[in-house]
Amino acid sequence: MSGAIRRARLAAASALAAMLLAGADWRTLPRGEGPDAVPVRRIDGAPYVAVNDLARLLDATKFWHGDVRKLQLRSGRHSITFTVDNPFVVVDDATLWLPSPVRSVRGELQIPAALVDSLPRDPALARLFFDARRSRVIVLPTSGTIGSPTVTASGGVTRVSFPADDPDAAVVVARSRAHLRVRFGGLFTGAVPDSLPSGGLLRAMRPIAAAGGSAFECEIAHEASGFRLGPDASRRRVVLELFREAVAGTEQFAPEGPRGPRVLRTIVLDPGHGGDDPGVMAGGAVEKDLTLALARVLRTELEHRIPARVVLTRDDDRGLTADQRAEVANHARADVVIALHFDGLPAADARGATAYCPPATFTEAGDAETSRGGSFQLLPWRDVAVRQAVPSRSLAEAVLSALELRGEGPTRLRDRLPCALLGVNAPGMLLECAVLTSPADRERVQQAEGLRQLAATIAEGVVAWQRNE
């Protein structure tokens, strides 16, 4: 047996073993969160990236010339030409000498990762970054990178300073004190601080997923009266300032009610679907029937726990438009609205509960500024529920927490205004109580005891929210 055959067999066996150990196809990318990235693998100790991945990152078209074993990538006015088993690469009119040759593995060219540092800097061409620590090549956004933030607190002002290539691309996307979210155009390549200054107004900070950039979610102390976000004098950093005392030119947080027990006189339950609209149907379960049955049981459970009036948008099998549902809630002067639904998902193994609540995009500035004769913020009536984003999210968290504790999860919370809350002038949420396409969830809620337990758990969550402790 020749040495070449033996080496080929060993290489194939090693590759297969590695794939089995990894438990997945090495070409499969991780979940859709985070930056656009491709894996880097080692060949004879050198880092390589597959040409198909490279072409995708560069948004390039591939042309293969088999007679001379050359592959050309074309992206806009740029071209890159590779030759198999050759370390020389032609980028536009320049020839580069890479530290290792281009390889062909299983019919696909493998390119030394060192190439990404030599690509032309052109806004029309994706800017790539070889992240050796995580063995990947990523596309940097046009706004570049965001570095490690520093936090300082003095004189009633807390400053969070982010190094940023493009400080103008920073924006506040949610402005509640509990979940202040700042989105940046650049990719976060640093780390958040291990500790925060005592006595400051920043309670916690963590990076969260964001498309085409990065974002952070901050928890702000209740003593904070306002905030300001903008570039510093050098325009190399973005500074988030949190103020203890009111200062001219600061932005307001999203409106939230006073601390302590909430006033809860009227609760509106909105059983989803009805009439000609059955909703999800799976395994004999019909969503419109289950939502109505749950609403009736939940009304009883709530009335036992809270001295409040409970109103149902429908108490029989009839269809209602979104406007009609909102009209019932507004006419009843609802203190809270819960739209009850049961989910159906593409995969049968998906289960649990999901809450949808309005995003915190509205500020307190409207009333405050208008009373001072300043500017005001127009809000379409369609989106009036976003004024109640903070208590709505608290409600969703309280109910989901109760469901999770009772083993009726997993739970998910999404900041997205659902149709059921369009034009609703009250805190509220759409709650997908369980997944009917999941046999386990379906069997549970189809039984009277399972439905009663579900109603009791939701009522416990509402009571916890009302206590506001």
Partner: protein
């Protein structure tokens, strides 16, 4: 005696077969000309987003597509690939049979996407399925068409208020709002 001879012959035959399998020349490794990108035509790598099996998020899947000349063709190809479904671990999120009728790009980053009636008529599921269907579409188009920042979905040439009654579609969707 006869039994030993038979057993011995069987052992020899097995060893000979194993030796032939091990020593025969390996089949030729696939050459570059066998790869998907071997023709003179241009091939592009796209990134498609499908629903995770847990229903929690999206999963990305790279796929090689023949280069399309126009924006309409590029969008139609991406939507068709979403309709064909994943080859990896995800689940198709787009309603079956969805296709592109027209696209209009206004040079300010707004893509108006006119989908076939199957988009609305083929939808089954709750808010989660609706969320994943919209997210799969918006994220895929946003990832592969960097010039697109907002997407307005219409169906059969007419505006639609919602896909399945849970999430509004009457206004353009900001690509960056669908991570």
């Amino acid at each position: 005696m006869m039994r030993r001879v038979v057993v011995g012959l069987l052992v020899v035959a097995a060893l000979a077969w194993a030796g032939w399998r091990w020593l025969r020349p390996a089949p030729p490794a696939p050459t570059e000309s066998a790869a998907a990108d071997s023709s003179g035509a241009g091939v592009r790598s796209a990134r498609l987003y499908f629903a995770a099996r847990s229903g929690d998020s999206l999963v990305a899947e790279p796929r090689e597509l023949v280069e399309a000349a126009s924006l309409h063709e590029r969008v139609a190809t991406l939507v068709a690939e979403l309709d064909h479904g994943p080859r990896g671990g995800g689940v198709a999120a787009l309603p079956a049979g969805t296709s592109v009728l027209h696209v209009f790009y206004d040079d300010h980053g707004l893509l108006t996407l006119d989908l076939s009636r199957a988009f609305q008529q083929g939808f089954r599921g709750g808010t989660g399925a609706e969320y994943l269907a919209i997210a799969s579409l918006v994220r895929t188009l946003g990832a592969n068409l960097p010039e697109v920042h907002r997407i307005l979905i219409v169906c059969g040439g007419e505006p639609i208020a919602t896909l399945g009654g849970h999430l509004p579609l009457d206004q353009p969707l900001d690509v960056s709002d669908w991570p």
